[in-house]
Symmetry: C2
């Protein structure tokens, strides 16, 4: 991993610590929608009913009723048949990526990622020193022609993808692209990691099938409660068939024995005592409003010649400036005006993306979106 | 890691799930002493006062006031000067071991561990495929003559030790051994991992200095709240100087972004609202009583020719049977009588220890200790 990636993040964290900063940088859900009262009630209930066991060591796989709940949701939401033993609770989906790398990657192994790609995955997988083949995203998903050719070249071990409202680009894979990707992966016996942190946050259009619909064995699905309940718990999951899962469980046990047991119980209690779908609908409506506002502010105030994705869900917009404008220059000027975002270069392992940037719309309230985009527009005009 | 290690653990987990089993197997603290009421109060307080922020993403390093508390405790309990920035909150000390392996170990690197050694460390480090040099423990710590010779041989990267009430042996390093180990490590510029999960659980004698007293830079101290508060939170910490810490933070961020934020806040609230030293004294007294009972039951009922450590603290006794008796045979007979322990072989990376076993005394109440040891004695007599 280049030091650029690290220093971007450090810089961004430092800047966003300033309460005056309008930050479109982080990938933060909006804390206004955290169900604090319901979580408090769930915590009380769990500690009162079974406090001692909740605070004891537990199994590596995680709390069985929670795994059953997740399996059942895969059935009803995604039409996938999943056994609870095919679910392992992790510390956010970030740990799911890490464990996958730990189990499957040796130094020098070749893997495919999206271009631009999710920075957290790049960070996690880079610890295992793979060689990246990064393949461009088109408007409807990865360039499958190039994906096919790359796999045909041989030696590719896995492909990491975020098919719904991708981070950073906001792009969603079409149904056809999902089938095509699955075909390529199956043909070359490689592993697909389908990371789906934002799938529940669809504002427009219809849900599209998980690639787990088309791939039987060699697929690892990653999920998280961070975007639909709250990220502070650090709870997500891995879903994989037995052969893969056995290896992942050993790696999880070696990494930290098991995930926080109290939080697993609290999340489960919250889920059975509340209407999660109604809660998600509230988040969706709020994020859609922010996305619409940000897109319309950009359309209105940014100069011509700037492209902006209009994602059907999730938390991010992706901006492409004219080629001659550097988003790093823009970043350096913007932080002086107390506006932050992530320069696109951070999402490219092989350089490039210098004229792109990622904007988060979930975490800011509407007046901040208005003010922040206006400030950005003014700076862009000076460039 | 041999499959023996994995299958032992699976078998033991399976057996101890049977409520009829008297288990001296796991390394479980006694749940009777979990401060459930106090944790409930702390949870309520934290969620009411700052619920939204507590449930949001946070910094990789962990909650600053908690890190300040840990640094201050190093000062008062261990006489060590530690800056809060030299503390990183981890998912139990198990993750501390994992992150150390991730940062420092490449396949084929040589590392020293104790013989017998802590199984969790063997599991965590084995993921990075090192070559183990396991050096025997004597009554007062590792065989420093052999340790010196091994380091002189060259190429040893690190040494992992549990100097207080070691797991599995119960052995504590003498002050002299600590100095000697530090001298050897400093001379050869290798890294010492001092894992101290049980240090606060001393029943007899005086606290001995951390090897951090003698080693300035190349030392990683691991600590945990699992044994003094509760393990279900999965919260521990790494303490290391800046150069090491910077690498560890990057590895932690790649692994899971940060540890559970709610639990960090709850533990901190618990610590400032309660008298932790009084709580620890209660645990110490209870565990000492159990240890004394287990030792006296063994002395009374086990046949002659069986050795048993008498640890000054911690949670484990280590039994050495006559050479011709296999503890695995004993294990297989014992589980039929619903008594479980860990056969010693599991703690040897190079084979050996076939006539040894580990007994946990913290997790069983007194009638179970009496009954379990009697049953074990009867079976041993038949061998």
């Amino acid at each position: 991993m280049g030091t650029t990636h690290k220093s971007f993040i450090r810089e961004i964290l430092r800047v966003t610590e300033n309460p005056k900063t309008i930050s479109f940088a982080g990938g933060l859900p909006n804390l206004k929608f955290f169900p604090v009262k319901e979580i408090t009630n769930a915590s009380l209930k769990v500690l009162e009913e079974d406090g001692e066991n909740v605070l004891q060591y537990n199994t590596t796989e995680g709390y069985l009723p929670l795994r059953e709940y997740i399996a059942e949701r895969y059935r009803t939401k995604n039409g996938l048949t999943v056994d609870p033993d095919e679910i392992l609770i992790t510390n956010g989906s970030q740990q799911g990526i890490d464990l996958t790398g730990k189990v499957f990657l040796d130094k020098g192994d070749q893997i495919v990622i999206e271009r631009p790609g999710y920075l957290g995955a790049i960070q996690a997988l880079s610890m295992y020193e793979p060689i990246y083949q990064s393949i461009p995203l088109l408007g409807d998903g990865i360039d499958t022609d190039l994906l096919g050719k790359t796999f045909k070249g041989g030696g590719i071990k896995l492909f990491y993808t975020v098919p719904n409202f991708q981070n950073p680009s906001g792009i969603t894979y079409s149904k056809q692209k999902r089938r095509d990707v699955a075909d390529i992966l199956e043909k070359h016996d490689a592993i697909l990691i389908e990371d789906d942190p934002y799938g529940e946050l669809r504002f427009i259009g219809e849900d599209l099938p998980s690639m787990g619909t088309y791939i039987k064995d060699n697929i690892i699905l990653l999920g998280t409660f961070s975007k639909i309940i709250a990220p502070g718990f650090r709870l997500g999951w891995i879903c994989a068939k037995k052969d893969i899962m056995e290896k992942i469980i050993i790696a999880k046990q070696a990494s930290d024995l098991h995930s926080n047991q109290l939080s697993q119980r609290v999340i489960y209690q919250y889920l059975i005592d509340n209407d999660i779908d109604r809660h998600i609908m509230r988040i969706r409506a709020a994020y859609k409003k922010r996305r619409d506002l940000m897109v319309s502010m950009i359309t209105e105030h940014f100069p011509e010649g700037i492209r902006c994705t209009e994602p059907e869900g999730g938390m991010f917009l992706w901006i492409t400036l004219p080629e001659r404008i550097s988003s790093l220059d823009l970043f350096n000027l913007a932080i002086q005006e107390n506006v932050a975002f992530v320069p696109g270069n951070a999402f490219y392992v092989d350089g490039g993306g210098n004229n792109t940037l990622r904007l988060n719309f979930s975490n800011s309230d509407e007046t901040k979106i208005e003010e922040g985009i206006k400030r950005l527009a003014d700076i862009i005009k000076t460039l």
